[in-house]
């Protein structure tokens, strides 16, 4: 079974449908070559400074560079891309809200062997979520072409419906081959791993992951993005980073204060009490979808 490719005119709903069916899908050329080059130019100094991994899971010839909200203006926009959020809205709609789980640019160097096949949701202490209960919506934005040879992510399509804690080898997988500027969407439940890089070039993927807001974030956004930078960011992005309560009450500060008030005290505390919050979140959701549609039209 191959990974389905969709055109970049697709809607978030269609991407989410494909993810629910296959566990993974590729949207071709969501970014232009020029846009990718712009992203890479911004990230290059940080990638160059990053040390390679210290174990085989993280890759001894692989650089994982994070804190992209603090470090890259363009990443702040990509993380809020209407197609990514539109997909997460649908794919994670069973939860009250979702948040930014991590931001990472992964540079797999030549000679890196294949990563062990795993499920990303195993990060939650290997907790066995029931089949069909998705906790993450993952994106990998191809900053170089992704090929079988250079270590394209290896996926087992349909494996989001498999039992938990299974072991696989590379021969069970297919490569998420895609052109530079394309985006791989996959669930936290699909078995996958970074491929071996048998080419002579570095394979670079930009990863943004969204997870349910009652789970811990893999990247600590409160520490990774200094407060003086956070204060300059748009409110919608701040909420996604966790400057908003998860579910009803999670993540408050001090005397039940909305965490947004830590960075933007001038904004009225609009995350009220625990019972009233449900109706409030629903209202916010509707407003958010409206403004997103307005943005899409403006594009």
């Amino acid at each position: 079974m191959e990974i389905q490719h969709l055109a970049n005119t697709v809607t978030g709903e269609q991407v989410a449908e494909a993810m629910s069916r296959d566990g993974a899908v590729i949207v071709d050329h969501l970014l232009s070559m020029a846009q990718v080059d712009e992203v890479l130019a911004e990230l290059r100094p940080w990638i160059d400074k990053t040390k390679p991994g210290t174990d085989s899971f993280n890759g001894r010839n692989t650089r994982r560079t994070g804190a992209l909200i603090a470090r890259s203006q363009i990443c702040r926009k990509l993380v809020m891309h209407p197609l990514a959020l539109g997909t997460a809205d649908k794919f994670l709609a069973h939860a009250t809200s979702y948040q930014l789980h991590l931001t990472q640019v992964i540079s797999v160097g030549p000679g890196e062997p294949a990563q062990r096949i795993h499920r990303d949701q195993w990060a939650f202490d290997l907790f066995s979520f029931p089949k069909g209960f998705e906790v993450q919506c993952n994106t990998i934005w191809a900053m170089t072409d992704f090929t079988d040879e250079n270590g394209a992510t290896r996926i087992i399509p349909g494996s989001h419906r498999f039992d938990d804690k299974l072991q696989f080898s590379e021969s069970d997988t297919v490569p998420a081959a895609m052109g530079k500027g394309s985006v791989l969407f996959y669930s936290g439940s699909v078995y996958h791993g970074a491929g071996a890089n048998r080419s002579s070039d570095t394979r670079i993927g930009l990863q943004f992951i969204y997870n349910l807001s009652w789970l811990r974030q893999e990247e600590n956004q409160y520490l990774a993005c200094p407060l003086e930078i956070a204060r300059t960011l748009p409110v919608e992005l701040l909420r996604l980073m966790g400057y908003q309560r998860g579910a009803f009450s999670l993540g408050y500060v001090g005397d039940l204060m909305d965490p947004l008030q830590v960075v933007r005290p001038e904004i009225e505390n609009d995350a009220p009490g625990q019972l009233e919050n449900t109706a409030h979140l629903l209202k916010k959701q509707i407003e958010r979808e409206r403004s997103r549609k307005a943005i899409a039209r403006a594009d």
């Binding site: 899971f57 994982r64 804190a67 600590n220 009490g273």
Partner: protein, 274 residues
């Protein structure tokens, strides 16, 4: 059926076994009355400044004062109480590690009606955890006596083994009556609620909860405790606050750095324990 009591010098195994059997236990006189005097003095200015709740769940005559690690040295001691922490560790033993969930002084004023009966773990978006997987342990430390009249926490005994999303009334509950300095320890599965305060004085409890470290904290410790205070805290407390990865990878900073680097670079670990 009532809530069992144990002495403060009980063995950890007995505390855990009692919680597993009954859904909660009271440890009598776990700290002295003098300790509670000092704690009350530390917290008084903060409690006075705290606004009352804005809905009936929070309690319109109830003050919930948080950020206690930043505000009170004695709350730090309570959090690290060896018997409570040791028991919490075992009750949450299905998870790799535990963390601070929230710190809150709850002051219920006279006239406050009873809070709706609930499970603390409903905070996790009502996710239906299996009965044998505990995700929260809460310790309510009595800063005043807790009596049936002044709003002692109402508990449905044995309800940690009940089905999820049930509704109860006060008639189904018993009060967690205890003396000042005692602590009521219960898991996130036990149905309970703040009692109605029909007395003419405030009832204050210090709620210090722990959760499995792969879940989101109810109180954001990175924002609630300023870094300049965090830098002065003991290593073990910092790890408990979340300056340690949850499970294997959760909570790193930028290029997979140990969050401890932000407060105590000398103690930070490199690489992940995958």
């Amino acid at each position: 059926m009532t809530i069992p009591h144990l002495q403060a010098n009980a063995r950890c195994e007995d505390v855990v076994a009692t919680v597993e059997a009954s859904g909660g236990v009271i440890l009598d006189g776990a700290v002295s009355s003098e300790f509670m005097d000092q704690l009350a003095a530390e917290l008084r200015p903060w409690i006075e400044k705290t606004p009352t709740g804005i809905d009936e769940f929070e309690g319109r005559r109830t003050r919930r004062t948080g950020g206690l690690i930043a505000r009170s040295a004695r709350c730090r001691e309570l959090l690290m109480n060896p018997l409570v922490l040791g028991s919490a560790n075992r009750i949450l033993g299905r998870a790799t590690s535990l963390q601070v969930n929230a710190t809150q002084a709850i002051t219920i004023a006279p006239g406050e009606p009873a809070q709706v009966i609930h499970r603390d773990q409903w905070a996790f978006d009502m996710y239906p955890f299996a009965r044998d997987y505990q995700v929260i342990v809460n310790a309510i430390w009595a800063m005043t006596d807790f009596t049936a009249r002044n709003g002692a926490t109402r508990v449905v005994p044995g309800s940690h083994a009940f089905e999820d999303k049930l509704r109860f009334t006060e008639a189904d509950t018993v009060p967690a009556e205890m003396t000042r300095g005692s602590v009521f320890l219960y898991p996130g599965t036990t149905y309970h609620g703040g009692g109605a305060n029909r007395s003419d004085t405030n009832r204050t409890g210090i709620s210090l909860s722990y959760s499995a470290s792969w879940l989101r904290q109810e109180e954001n410790q990175y924002l609630a405790v300023p870094l300049d205070i965090a830098r002065t805290l003991p290593e073990e407390l910092l790890r408990l606050m979340g300056y340690q990865r949850g499970a294997y990878a959760l909570g790193y900073v930028d290029d997979l750095r140990d969050p401890m680097e932000f407060v105590r670079p000398d103690l930070a670990k490199r690489g992940m324990a995958r």
